[in-house]
Amino acid sequence: MGVGAFFTGKLDEAIGWARKYSIFQYPFVTACCGMEYMATACSHYDVDRFGAGLPRFSPRQADVLFVVGTISHKMAPVLKRIYDQMCEPKWVVAFGVCTCTGGFYNNYATVQGIDTIIPVDVYIPGCPPRPESVIDGLMKLQDKIAAGAQRF
């Protein structure tokens, strides 16, 4: 390995480390999973220790899109637009079974998994997922952020 590659590798690691501890989420909350999201975001579970304590309520200032709750076909274009408005690098978390697969809503109104519309990085199943599952998903997302190639 040349000296240049060594420094690029170390720089990637450093940026990955910084990025995984500065997760600014955009909570796209549409349904009951929102309660569990709020429980996770409150002091009892302390997501601040993962650097994810500050949700941004503008997609242009967010890194991670948390899709929390059932997405209907009427809402789908809105979700796609929010995703398109986010700046790179960006990640998507599907929170709860409705966003993962449609859950038990197999009907005319519900999108059967948001991955039919936008790319998803981490799936957190559960109806709704417990905060422990959410934190597990968050840590998996951190690993993914840190391990990926860093574009800057």
Binding site: H73, K74, A76, N107, Y108, A109, V111, Q112, T116, I117
Partner: protein, 165 residues
């Protein structure tokens, strides 16, 4: 006012235009002819002894596969009334055929009927004549058909974006 007395008063006023009446465990229902439903609703609202000042819900039933009712009129429009003054309730129904699924609007009596009737139009495809703005309430304009009809295919999907699964 007792439910039986409410029904008696309706029958006294509208006679044979009240096609049926039911009393099931304290729930009182009257079925009226379509031509009478608007007068019946207005009477229920304005008669001092009834004073149904609140339209709680307008909904519909698709009797296409309802046991024993397959051959009758397909749709049943249901009005739930409540009187805040007397604390009593009444359910009014009107039956319409599929080919002629129209009822007069109640928006002139209760403004809330505007949205309730839009929802019935959206889900069942029953038209409300004289409604000021009969658009879909919950679904999107691109949606074809009325999903709560019993002959709407359960697997049919009409996504605005994404795959047509």
């Amino acid at each position: 006012m007792d439910g039986g007395a409410i029904l008696a008063r309706l029958v006294e006023r509208f006679r044979e235009a009240v096609l049926e009446r039911h009393d099931f465990r304290g729930d009182h229902t009257a079925v009226t002819a379509r031509g009478t439903i608007l007068d019946a609703l207005a009477f229920c609202r304005d008669d001092p002894a009834l004073a149904f000042d609140m339209l709680v819900d307008v909904t519909a039933v698709d009797c296409l596969v309802l046991p024993g009712r397959e051959d009758g009129p397909r749709f049943e429009i249901v009005y739930h009334l409540y009187s805040t003054e007397h604390n009593h309730r009444l359910r009014l129904k009107v039956r319409v055929e599929e080919e002629d699924a129209r009822v007069p609007t109640a928006t002139g009596l209760w403004p809330i009927a505007n949205w309730l009737e839009r929802e019935v139009w959206d889900m069942f495809g029953v038209r409300f004549e004289g409604h000021p703005d009969l658009r879909r309430l919950l679904l999107y304009e691109e949606f074809i058909g009325h999903p709560l009809r019993k002959d709407y295919p359960i697997e049919r999907r009409q996504p605005l974006i994404g795959p047509k699964v």
